[in-house]
Amino acid sequence: MSGAASSAPASGLRIPAPGVVIPLAAIAASFVVGFALMALTGSNIGAAIGAFAQGAFGSAYAIGTSLNRAVALGLVGLGFILAERANLINVGGEGQIAMGGIFSTAVALYGGVKGLPYGLAVLLPLLAGTLAGAAWGALAGVMKIRFGTNEVISTLLLNFIAILLVYWSVQSVHLLRQPASFAGTLPQSLQVPPSTTLPLLTGNPADPLHIGAAVAVVLAIVTALVLRRSAFGLRLKAIGLSPTASHRAGIRTDALMVSVLALSGAFGGLAGAMMLLGDQGYLTAGFSSGYGFDGLVVGLLARGSAAGVAAVAIFFGFLRSGGISMQISAHVPAALVTIVQGMIVVAIAGSAILIERMGRRA
């Protein structure tokens, strides 16, 4: 081994050391505080920790479920960092997921789709969900360039519209509500046909990890490439830093803003379609259950890096599974689980600031 080669890993270890230790310590500390809170409110700590571990990674099934959750969160996060590069903040993940869910369900349930060959039975609903999310994102973009509406406001408010559209879709028999019959009277859609659901990666039903994980990995790599190396990425950066100078340099800033918000929304729509076709199987009110907002947090914490999105999404996926399990098996109040999650977000964000300060002082 040459001197240069041996010194590189050494310095590689030295520099990121606080970058790894501090967030881990902060996360551990927030768990400790969280469990202390649970003890104070009378929960059984041992049972809670056991339930968390069991739910997050206690079995192949648990791990698969956690990773599937990570896929949805990660897709929303990737969409977020794409728009963020152009200095656009897309907080509409929740609504884009909802639109993706509605349209993928509609297409999956539509007449002959379930019989289509070559995987089209899956691809068409996925595509429909993706396009619906893209349209929802583009709408915010058009409002921005036409009326100057701040995209934070428009994407946020579009969430509520989309969530209510889901509600309407599953309430009205003329839309997606299942026909009233002896089997089901609940306000939800029919189960999508098996041929339209996402294939499992292992093919073993005990391991629910679906093909979405592979798609998400590919998309994360493509996103990283686009942001780092592509002309599109460079133009996004330019309009993010100075729309006027970019416009003068001949970049079509308006078109680019709409495109990137559409692209960002497409990721949300795809996430919604995958949640529906890979996991839920039928549309119901509130099926997006906060994934859009958690995905937004994933995107924020990733600080513009696709690898960061992957890491945070996986962490949050496990956290969500563990939290749900604590709620169900150890009867920890849902609010406490949310509090722990909130503390972890603050811990990660806080350690990022701390590391930055240390770096500046060094």
């Binding site: 002309a231 830093l241 100075s242 006027t244 100078a245 003068r248 340099a249 970049i251």
Partner: protein, 553 residues
């Protein structure tokens, strides 16, 4: 010939204009710098600077962009801390940890960019940061008025800042500093933002502050101002104070040489000096003779080619419906420079924005060659061979947070893209070539644009705009604003060579002497109208000046 040797004593401590001839007195200087060094990583911005400033004195800091003037001010004002050396203020050791400490020690600074809140009144602005609990606006307003009056400044405490002119806002900045009765006032290129007619009164205020016993450090590029106001001048070059000269015995030419470390050529010295009489030598009365003498025109062509730029009754109303441009009609011949003279704020910015494709005219049309460009996008304007050097380098000319290479290639990114991916190698190579050809100093392709000095930033913009192929027309708006003498020469050198290659140039500037020295013809803009057009000769200077100020010729 350094200033430190000139230590003749004037026991009278005279005030007023008489103090111009006074040498530094033997009393303790207000500010005393010894061996001040400042490094940023490997770069030494300032090395071993020694400087004394005395009460009642105006010291001018003169130097090229990037010579270390701003660094020096920022050290004194506590923005940076020196890497080495010692500062003393009023005899005591002085090491401000931050600007707040500097303010408390009696050092004030007026930055080039204003630090007032436009939507608030003068009183509220000055109350910011000093109010505790209950605001005594009326009382404080009186205090402002009184303090301003001491220096012959008029300030209406109840006016809202955004309604004030640039000159008034700057006066407010100064009053803001004076409220704290500073011992030392730092002024960083204060005249760069002022219209010519306000500069005189600004300099008077400086003199009055000095006469009141204050010490002033004035950073400037403009030698005419130095000649007018300085008691002593410190010249910085490449991070060193190369000379400190009392102005009573100063030779302007020697100062310029000390500043740039070489001699400048002919007419541009006059441009930089801002001294009209020098320009005269390089000019003759009649246009053709003058143009040929300075090599502005290639061999005269007999058949008349089409105008490269034709502006036909262009009118522009702003958002509020106010007419900013009123039926502007001008044309630019190939290989010629048409100067647009005028006091700032008479429609030049709007004209520049329209020609850059950033605003659409309300009426009228404009053509490049035979092509109508009235509603063209910036991309189409670039494609038509129009280079744009915008007035606002930072907001329009470049994406300042991106690298030099990215800025150079942003306009024709497609040329550096394969399969959607940017070919960084090709981009870096192209940038290296342009950096060398346009003599952009202190920069590699990966250098952040914002970290370049003003002159070098402008060279990057020029490099990008002048290498359009073909270059038919160049529109340059205030291209030398904030640049030092050396950079001004380089910029006009490039503009002229573009002209020599047959491009027409529309040069918008408020520096009349520069316009006369460089242009073939000058059109005068006043309140959005072209009020006259004539050959750019020294003989016409007075007439142009009169038109600029609204007096019909």
């Amino acid at each position: 010939m350094t200033g430190q040797t000139a230590t003749a004593v004037d026991p009278l401590q005279t005030t007023g204009r008489a103090s111009r001839v006074r040498a530094p007195d033997v009393r303790e200087p207000v500010l005393d710098l010894a061996g001040i060094t400042k490094s940023f990583g490997a770069l030494t911005a300032l090395s071993e600077a020694a400087l004394e400033v005395h009460a009642g004195e105006v010291l001018c800091l003169l130097g090229e962009n990037g010579a270390g003037k701003s660094t020096l001010c920022n050290l004194i004002y506590g923005v940076f801390r020196p890497t080495g050396g010692e500062m003393r203020l009023g005899g005591a050791a002085y090491a401000p940890a931050d600007p707040k400490a500097a303010l408390e020690a009696g050092v004030g600074m007026v930055h080039q960019h204003f630090s007032v809140v436009p939507s608030m009144t003068v009183v509220d602005n000055l109350l910011l940061g000093r109010s505790r609990g209950i605001l005594h606006r009326r009382l404080f307003a009186e205090e402002i008025r009184a303090r301003a009056a001491e220096f012959g400044l008029e300030v209406d405490p109840w006016r809202v800042v955004k309604d004030m002119s640039v000159g008034e806002r700057q006066r407010l900045e100064i009053v803001k500093c004076l409220m704290r009765r500073p011992r030392l006032l730092l002024l960083d290129e204060p005249t760069a933002v002022l219209p010519p007619e306000e500069i005189g009164s600004f300099l008077d205020v400086c003199r009055r502050i000095a006469d009141g016993g204050g010490a002033l450090i004035l950073v400037t590029h403009k030698l005419a101002e130095v000649a007018k106001i300085a008691d002593r001048t410190a010249i910085l070059r490449a991070g060193r104070i190369v000379d400190t000269v009392p102005m009573a015995s100063a030779d302007m030419k020697a100062i310029v040489q000390a500043m740039i470390g070489r001699e400048l050529g002919g007419a541009t010295v006059a441009v930089g000096l801002d001294l009209a009489e020098h320009a005269e030598a390089a000019e003759t009365d009649e246009l053709p003779a003058s143009a040929e003498a300075s090599g502005k025109i290639p061999a005269a062509t007999k058949s008349r080619p089409p105008d490269v730029l034709q502006i036909d009754a262009l009118t522009y109303r702003d958002r509020n419906g106010a007419v900013r441009l009123d039926e502007i009609t001008v044309e630019v011949r190939p290989g010629k420079i048409l100067g647009i003279a005028g006091v700032e704020g008479n429609g030049q910015s709007e004209l520049g924005l329209i020609l850059a494709g950033l605003e659409r005219p309300s009426a009228g049309r404009w053509f490049v060659g035979d092509r109508e460009m009235t509603r063209a996008s910036p991309a189409e304007i670039t494609a038509a061979g129009v280079g744009i050097v915008p007035e606002d380098r930072h907001a329009v000319g470049a994406v300042v947070e991106m690298s030099v290479a990215e800025n150079l290639c942003l306009q024709n990114l497609a040329q550096y893209t394969r399969f959607g991916l940017v070919r960084r190698g090709a981009m870096t190579a192209a940038a290296k070539d342009l950096i060398a050809r346009y003599d952009v100093r202190g920069a590699g392709p990966e250098t952040r644009f914002a970290s370049l000095s003003g002159g070098n930033q402008q060279k990057v913009v020029l490099a990008r705009e002048l290498t359009l192929d073909p270059l038919v027309l160049l529109v340059a708006a205030q291209p030398t604003r904030g640049l030092d003498v050396g950079a001004v020469e380089t910029v006009y050198g490039h503009i002229r060579s573009a002209c020599g290659r047959g491009a027409g140039v529309l040069l918008i500037s408020s520096e009349l002497d520069e316009l006369i020295a460089v242009s073939d013809r000058i059109a005068v803009i006043y309140r959005g109208r072209i009020v006259g057009e004539m050959p750019a000769t020294q003989k016409n200077r007075e007439a142009i000046g009169a038109l600029m100020s609204g007096h019909a010729a």
